[in-house]
Symmetry: C2
């Protein structure tokens, strides 16, 4: 596509979204929930055509030599389609945050000011392989009164198209503007890059995917971005750790699911407790096929451990590997963590209240834990009932993002003729 | 400067800020307030050297032919230095939002989660002529536990340097890291552009200045940005307007101060009330030297009015000019406003509750008013006691930004050994 064509294409999407957002903001919660339920039913009803579209994506990706793990992510099954529909029903059941009065106050001059929660407007989401994100992202944006423009992975393009069309048809049958959900159907990289600059129409851009995708969005976007997803998460085993808690928490955080952003990637161990903790911990990790890369003390206490480099400490493995380092104090642990973490989730295991408090205060991350697994950093585990991603930036939202994080606010001010003196 | 030198220079600033932020986050409110008071005293004590530095900036700018209005902004006087110091004392007297527990809740598995207000970390501020912004921005960032890196206008460079050094010395005498305030002292455009990409060290970037500066920051920054300042603000005079309120509100919003972002730039008038309202309103505006550019109905009712173009409706004049248009309904007014406004402040004058409500709901702006001047969009007028700017974006903060808007939050989670099933 030529750049003029790209601009016209995106401009059209943007105009449609702007038109749709105005209508969406006027929908009642009941209307939105009803539409979400209709979209859920439509996905189940159109199961065969969704599976057929996905089969084409799958065969093309397989022929192109896609790895098994990615092929599995790409795959739709009847159960996965049911789960997508179930996801929309769950979103319909959540409380609608739009319209909430966050604060209300009166000024001495008689002005009454209300800070009211409102939709963002238009949300752009750029994501990778899984086609179920299409329905999920739509559901969260729609419930909060936002129009959404999606750019999915090119490998899943037919699946995404089929899901989008199914939802759009369901919406239109409810009398709702189908442009509430739009999909960018061109897979040229230039289109995606130009989309990141569609600032006139898009209020926020959320990338969901690997570090490369996120970097590209941050570098190219002129739209405000919420960065999600990279997690070099630490567990610090304090001198005052309860040894009974160490192995369960570390194993859970490292091995319960290895490819996720809230998995533990690095261990810190107080030197005074190293010889009491590390041998058994090393054995437990090794039994779970985890490769350990540590400093000298770690290697002296865990026979199979290899050496760790600076790069290891900075790496989010997303794999059965963990780095480990001994430290001489909680302060040293905090300094190490603040140097190498990605602002996602870090934990301390300790029975010492002062150490726990210091760790909570001084570790710079979205979620800081005392005596619990980092795997709890999740919108569902936090009780938000939904999750669009985990923010690792400090602007707007930090940590798990649910419905509220997809909203903004406005001030509504009522007076009786006040002017500024 | 070569690009390698620029990078080294900024890297050094960034590292110092990162070091300072860790220390700042540990200061108590009392320590911060005491330091703010010391900085205020120091500014007054160093008055002569600040005036001498400013005199050099002033003479250089004058010789270079700077316009009178800008020269006035650049000028420091003993009174303005007193006002800067007074500003720091006012900030010291405000409540410290850092450490506030925004929410606290328990999960069924026993995890206790607290959402706690924390500093952003490092804030970058890029601004134009006025040297008083240097002290003001420092005060707001410092009170909220943030390190600040400032890039002021090159015309004020000696003044900014003198103010920064005075504050830094005062901080160090309090035992506080002087890198809590740093000033970029190179005026090459390449340095400013590279600063906008210092993402590793800077958590948020706030431009304060004209539309050109803001556009440049949005286009170049990889750091999350808060857009501030452009205001194409509207007043819609509804069919059900109380005529007694019209002239005071419009005159106040248009003429009380013309160069500010919350001044009114465009009028909409219901066609049914146009012939009753416009002649007297036109006279009142003309008496204040305001040039009126309107559609046919406006011109028929205001003898001196000229024609308005599409461009007029889109223009933030910041001058004694106002555009005016007649509309046939509140809906038409809302559509016009949502097309041309900049998401800043818009007002309706009406005694009709339904129209007022519809306007409050449907106008897409940070601040929407019923029967009051748009000039109230201001952190002080809202009772925040401070203002770093007016956000016109929807991410993070919208409208007047006080201390709270310079903070983020973190989740502190306390458990007793919980792991994720």
């Amino acid at each position: 596509m030529e750049s003029r064509e790209i601009n016209e294409y995106l401009e059209t999407l943007g105009r449609k979204a702007a038109f749709a957002k105005t209508a969406l903001q006027k929908l009642t919660t009941e209307q939105k929930d009803h539409a979400l339920k209709s979209a859920a039913s439509a996905l189940v009803k159109e199961k065969d055509s969704l599976l057929a579209a996905n089969e084409k994506d799958y065969q093309r990706a397989r022929a192109a030599g896609m790895a098994e793990g990615l092929l599995d992510r790409l795959r739709l099954t009847p159960e996965r389609i049911e789960a997508m529909a179930e996801g929309l029903l769950q979103i319909a059941a959540l409380q609608d945050p739009v319209g909430d009065v966050i604060e209300a106050f009166d000024r001495p001059n008689g002005l009454h000011i209300e800070k009211v929660r409102v939709p963002m407007g238009v949300i752009g989401i750029i994501y990778e392989a899984r086609p179920n994100v299409t329905a999920d992202a739509f559901g969260l944006c729609f419930k909060t009164g936002n129009a959404v423009i999606l750019k999915g992975g090119s490998d899943a393009c037919l699946s995404n198209q089929a899901i989008t069309e199914t939802i759009r048809t369901a919406l239109m049958q409810e009398g709702i503007d189908g442009a509430a959900i739009q999909l960018i159907e061109h897979n040229d990289r230039e289109v995606t890059t130009a989309f990141m600059k569609l600032k006139e129409y898009v209020d926020v851009l959320i990338p969901r995917g690997g570090a490369g995708l996120i970097r590209s969005v941050v570098e190219n976007s002129t739209i405000p971005v919420i960065e999600t997803g990279t997690g070099n998460c630490h567990i610090y085993i304090d001198e005052a750790a309860d040894p009974e808690k160490v192995i369960p928490i570390v194993l859970n955080a490292k091995t319960q699911r290895i490819g996720v952003c809230n998995a533990c990637e690095s261990l810190l161990v107080h030197e005074k407790i190293a010889d009491r903790i590390l041998p058994a911990l090393g054995e437990a990790l090794t039994a779970k096929q985890v490769e350990i890369r540590g400093d000298e003390t770690v290697r002296a206490n865990i026979p199979g451990a290899g050496p760790a480099t600076e790069e290891d400490y900075a790496t989010e493995y997303l794999d059965l590997i963990i780095s480990a380092k001994t430290v001489s104090s909680v302060e040293e642990a905090i300094i190490h963590i603040n140097r190498y973490n990605t602002g996602h989730s870090d934990a301390i295991i300790t029975e010492d209240k002062a150490h726990a408090e210091q760790f909570l205060q001084e570790v710079d991350a979205a979620c800081v834990y005392v005596n619990a697994s980092t795997r709890f950093t999740d919108g569902f585990e936090f009780g938000f009932g939904a999750e669009i991603g985990i923010s690792t930036q400090k602007l707007h939202a930090r940590g798990p993002m649910g419905l509220r994080e997809l909203t903004s606010y406005k001030y509504q001010i009522t007076g009786g003729g006040q002017i500024r003196p």
